[in-house]
Structure formats: structure tokens, C-alpha cells
């Protein structure tokens, strides 16, 4: 709908206060970078990039200069005369970006553009995208299912479910202060602990969690006594130790599973009330990086400032 390939049943599409709902795709000041790149196979790299300028009726000399300039921006000048099937996936990606940017649209829509790239290339392109966006100063709308990508690339994120925006916020607020269970669960890993508000005191909440007892959590400024909800707690906020944690909230449990991914190890600990909680432990110590075995009795805990209570 942003690009104009689908029409809204109702409502408006505003860009700088101007309604675009009835404007056909070719007349919107919006260009799209497609997931498949959609480079024209019968045109060279330079001809692909020049396509929007041609459509806009720019004089040939200006079009050539702008094309060259934009190819420089994405470091592709050397490939100007190549055809799309002669270049790599990452290069195609950059041609698609150059083609989208060359005409200085008011908005660039990127539809899962990194989906077809391998991990290393993906990360390199993320850095590249941030640099490009800063240099051209055009608003990018980046559609993705990869949550880390959204957090890494955005100034603002809209988390959507079934076409409805659940939360629109800065990345750090989306991650740290999700508005509801869906957002908390969708973005990153999250422990969701069912709990009711028992008291509001000392700038904090006293929560009652079935089978666990009392949990201290930071106030959210809106929940009151009797509210039902979940405490959203990120795995990296949860400490794990053999015992003796000096933290406001601590519970004994048993290690059920762990996942070693190199830089960190994620433990799944079953609390005594049967609830599983994830704790993330950085592998800082040199040498063998596993500290707890499956079946070990441990203690998990977190400070009372950690987590974010989400009312239902």
C-alpha cells in the first residue's frame, strides 16, 4: 500500500501531510527495493540505475552524471557495464538500492532486502544501509521479519500484528518497555512471568506470582492493585549462580537445558513452581565456557529495577 500496488479499502496514506491513497504507483515519490531486487535483466547496471531518471524525463547528461554519482555512493562504478546475471547477490542488492535512491524519492521502501543474503553479507549490508541513509538523508521504511535487524537499523520501529500496529517506538523502548505481551515476546527473547499487582509502593510494584511468591518490579506508572499481567524479563537481566545471589528477587531452580552459542550461553532453568526461565550468561572466562550441567541445582535472580510489567 505504501508503494501503491495494493489499494486501501478505507483511510488515507499520508506523506508529509499529503494523501497518496489515490495516486498510482508510478506517480508516488516513493521507490521500493524488492526482496528479489527485481533488477531488469536486459539492462546493464548503469541502465538499471538510470531507469527512474529516464522515466522522470531527465536530460541525458544529467541522468548520466546522477547515475555515476549514485553508483559511486554504493561503490559500484566498476560494474556499470555489467548485466545483473554477471554480478553477485550483494552487488545486486546495492544496484537495487542505487536504483531506488538515484531519483531522490521522499521515501524508500525496503521490503526484506537482506533476506536473500548470507549472514556475513547481511551484517555488512546493515552497516552499509545505515551509512547510506545518513548520507542521503531520505526516510527509509524497512520491512523485516528479522527482529535484530529492525533493532539495529531503525530510529523508530512499528511492530505489526495482522496488519495492526501494536507499538511504534524507538528500538530501545520497544525492547525495554514493550506495550503488551505480543511485542515483548516478538522482539528478542523474553521471559513472561504471570503475576498480579499486590501493592504499589516505594516507586515500585509488588507482584504476586502463583507458585513463586512475591516479585519486586519497577513501577510503570499506570498499573494499580489487582491488575493482572506479565513481567517481561529479558534473559540477560537474569543472573544465575550456585547460590547466594544478593538480589531482591531470587528463586531456586534446576538447570533443564542450555544452548552454547559462543559469546553467551543460554540456560533454561525450571523454577520450583514448574515455570521455565531463561538466563543468559556471557562467556567471559577463558577456557571451557560451561559452568552448569543439566540437573544442577542453581539460583536465578534479578534486581528489582529489572523487567517491565505489562498489564493485560
Amino acid at each position: 500500500m505504501i508503494a501503491g500496488f495494493d489499494l486501501p479499502d478505507a483511510g488515507r496514506i499520508l506523506l508529509d501531510g499529503q494523501d497518496l491513497a489515490d495516486t498510482p504507483a508510478e506517480r508516488r515519490p516513493i521507490h521500493t527495493v524488492f526482496q528479489s531486487y527485481a533488477l531488469f535483466p536486459h539492462l546493464t547496471v548503469a541502465e538499471n540505475v538510470a531507469f527512474p531518471l529516464r522515466m522522470a524525463g531527465r536530460p541525458a547528461a544529467e541522468a548520466r552524471a546522477r547515475t555515476a554519482e549514485t553508483l559511486d555512493l554504493v561503490h559500484l562504478r566498476d560494474l556499470a557495464g555489467h548485466y545483473p546475471h554477471e554480478i553477485s547477490g550483494g552487488q545486486k542488492q546495492r544496484v537495487a538500492l542505487a536504483r531506488g535512491l538515484v531519483n531522490r524519492p521522499r521515501l524508500l521502501l525496503l521490503d526484506e532486502p537482506l533476506g536473500a543474503l548470507d549472514l556475513k553479507l547481511r551484517e555488512a549490508m546493515q552497516v552499509e544501509l545505515i551509512r547510506l541513509q545518513r548520507e542521503v538523508g531520505i526516510t527509509f521504511v524497512f520491512v523485516t521479519h528479522a527482529q535484530p535487524e529492525a533493532l539495529a537499523l531503525s530510529h523508530r520501529i512499528a511492530v505489526m500484528r495482522d496488519g495492526v500496529v501494536e507499538q511504534l517506538d524507538e528500538p530501545s523502548r520497544i525492547y525495554g518497555f514493550p506495550k503488551n505481551r505480543f511485542v515483548a515476546d516478538f522482539i528478542g527473547n523474553c521471559n513472561l512471568i504471570e503475576a498480579a499487582v499486590a501493592a504499589v509502593a516505594d516507586g515500585g510494584l509488588r507482584l504476586a506470582a502463583a507458585g513463586l511468591g512475591e516479585i519486586l518490579a519497577p513501577a510503570d506508572g499506570q498499573s494499580g492493585v489487582g491488575d493482572q499481567g506479565v513481567l517481561a524479563l529479558r534473559p540477560e537481566q537474569v543472573r544465575i549462580a550456585a547460590g547466594g545471589l544478593a538480589l531482591a528477587n531470587r528463586f531456586p531452580g534446576t538447570v533443564r537445558d542450555f544452548l552454547y552459542v559462543g559469546d553467551v550461553t543460554t540456560y533454561k532453568v525450571e523454577l520450583d513452581n514448574g515455570r521455565l526461565i531463561e538466563a543468559l550468561l556471557p562467556n567471559q572466562a577463558p577456557g571451557r565456557a560451561r559452568f552448569f550441567e543439566i540437573g544442577d541445582r542453581v539460583e536465578v535472580g534479578w534486581p528489582k529495577e529489572a523487567g517491565h510489567y505489562v498489564r493485560d
Binding site: G4, F5, P24, R27, H42, F51, P52, Y83, H85
Partner: protein, 259 residues
């Protein structure tokens, strides 16, 4: 690489022999200095000289080329449009309507076109009726080829063109058409070769005044397979061969950016 088993090589050779020996015989006898297709006497170009003095044959050849050219051009345009329509709007009955003439027995199509031209259009049978008939059965072939090409293409290419500022017409001219051109050309060549060697439908729709190469050859072999027939067949073969090579060449140059 492993050596092919002898039996496989022999089977392949036999198959190719079955396909090409009859053609080779026709070509060889067209240069044979004898009235009879019996034994090799000596090399001659007499039959070709005779051919080019045969007014009837020349007229038939001219008719054939004219009919093939006009009908294949028209069928290419219409067939391409039909292929685009079948791809874009998925009316279930549209492919059925377009492709039926391809599957229909030629004899049926010939009879029904004859009836249609005479009873409904009150057309005098002649060049025009043959051209119309050839267009009718060629459209489906072009449409199938074009549609197959479209089906293999990334739909977002067309969306991308629109997105980058191309009007629907510009999208067609600058993106769609260049991309389907190999199929359009291949379909056109197919239509041309179908037209130039069609006998059954032409026989029904040509009437008495107009002759084409196949009709002319048929009327000649009713008497005997003369070396002149061999000669004209050889030339027809040559033309077809050139068309096929041309199409392959065009296809390759357009395919350079193929998906």
C-alpha cells in the same frame, strides 16, 4: 567421462537415420540427372532451372511466402496479446478458448472455416481466406509460448518498473516486451513455418484460384514424384532451416540477460 554402451549408440544412430535419411534422399535426388527416382546417374541443376521457369510453381511460392509472412505477423501480435491476457487475468475459460484451435483436428478446423467463410462472411475464397485461416490456428501457438515465458518471470519486475515511475505503457515497452521478445520471435517463427507447410486447412480455404507450395506439390505428385518436386522440397527445407537458425540466433542475443 564414461564410454557410451554400443547398443545405445546404435539405437541413437538408427533413430537419427530414420529421421534424416528420407530428407537426405529427397535432397540427393533433386540433383540427380534422371527423370526417375531410381538410381544415381549424375549431378545436375536442371531441376532447379526447370523449377524457376515453372510459372505456376513460382506463383504458388509467392503466395505461400505472402500468406506465411502476413499471417505469422498478425498471429504474433494477436498471440502475444492473448498470452499476456492469459497471464494477467486468470479467467479459467480464456486459455481454453485460445488453445482449442491448436488441439482441434485440422480437418475439422478446415471444414468449419470453409463453412464460416462462405455461409457467414460470404467471402470469396482466395488469399484473404487462407490468411485468416492461418492466423486462426497460429494464434494459439504464439500465445502458449509467450505465456510460458511470462510464467517463468519474476512478477516484481513489472511492479518495479511501475514503482520507479514507468506508466503501464512504458512498462510494457521498456520491460515486458524486451523480456518476452525471445518468446515472441520464437512464436512468430513457429507461426511462419506452420503456415508455409500447412496443407489441410489451406486445401479447404483456398478455393480454386489460389495455390500454395504444399497444394502445388500435392497436385504434382498425383502424377508422379518428379525430381522437380524434390527440388522444391529441398528449397522449402532450406528455408525452414534458415528460419530455425535465425530464431536460435535471435533468441540467444536477446537471452543474454535472461532470467
Amino acid at each position: 567421462m564414461r564410454r557410451l554402451p554400443l547398443s545405445l549408440v546404435l539405437a541413437a544412430l538408427a533413430t537419427y537415420a530414420f529421421l534424416y535419411v528420407p530428407l537426405a534422399v529427397v535432397v540427393a535426388y533433386s540433383f540427380n540427372d534422371s527423370r526417375l527416382n531410381a538410381e544415381w546417374v549424375g549431378f545436375t541443376l536442371d531441376w532447379y532451372r526447370l523449377l524457376f521457369q515453372d510459372e505456376e510453381m513460382l506463383l504458388a511460392a509467392r503466395n505461400s511466402l505472402l500468406i506465411a509472412l502476413v499471417s505469422s505477423l498478425a498471429a504474433t501480435v494477436l498471440g502475444t496479446l492473448a498470452g499476456l491476457a492469459m497471464h494477467r487475468w486468470r479467467f479459467p475459460w480464456l486459455p481454453f478458448l485460445v488453445i482449442t484451435p491448436v488441439a482441434m483436428p485440422e480437418i475439422l478446423l478446415g471444414v468449419s472455416l470453409l463453412v464460416f467463410f462462405i455461409q457467414v462472411l460470404h467471402l470469396t475464397l482466395g488469399l484473404l481466406s487462407v490468411v485468416l485461416a492461418h492466423i486462426t490456428f497460429s494464434i494459439g501457438f504464439v500465445a502458449i509460448v509467450v505465456r510460458a515465458r511470462l510464467a517463468g518471470m519474476d512478477e516484481s519486475l513489472f511492479e518495479a518498473a511501475r514503482d520507479l515511475g514507468a506508466t503501464p505503457w512504458q512498462t510494457f515497452r521498456l520491460v515486458t516486451l524486451p523480456l518476452i521478445l525471445p518468446a515472441v520471435v520464437a512464436g512468430g517463427v513457429m507461426a511462419f513455418t506452420l503456415s508455409i507447410d500447412d496443407f489441410v486447412i489451406t486445401f479447404f480455404t483456398a478455393g480454386v484460384g489460389v495455390s500454395t507450395l504444399p497444394l502445388q506439390i500435392y497436385s504434382m505428385i498425383k502424377i508422379a514424384v518428379t525430381p522437380e518436386v524434390n527440388a522444391v522440397s529441398t528449397l522449402l527445407m532450406l528455408l525452414t532451416l534458415v528460419m530455425v537458425l535465425l530464431a536460435a540466433r535471435l533468441d540467444k542475443s536477446f537471452m543474454r540477460g535472461g532470467t
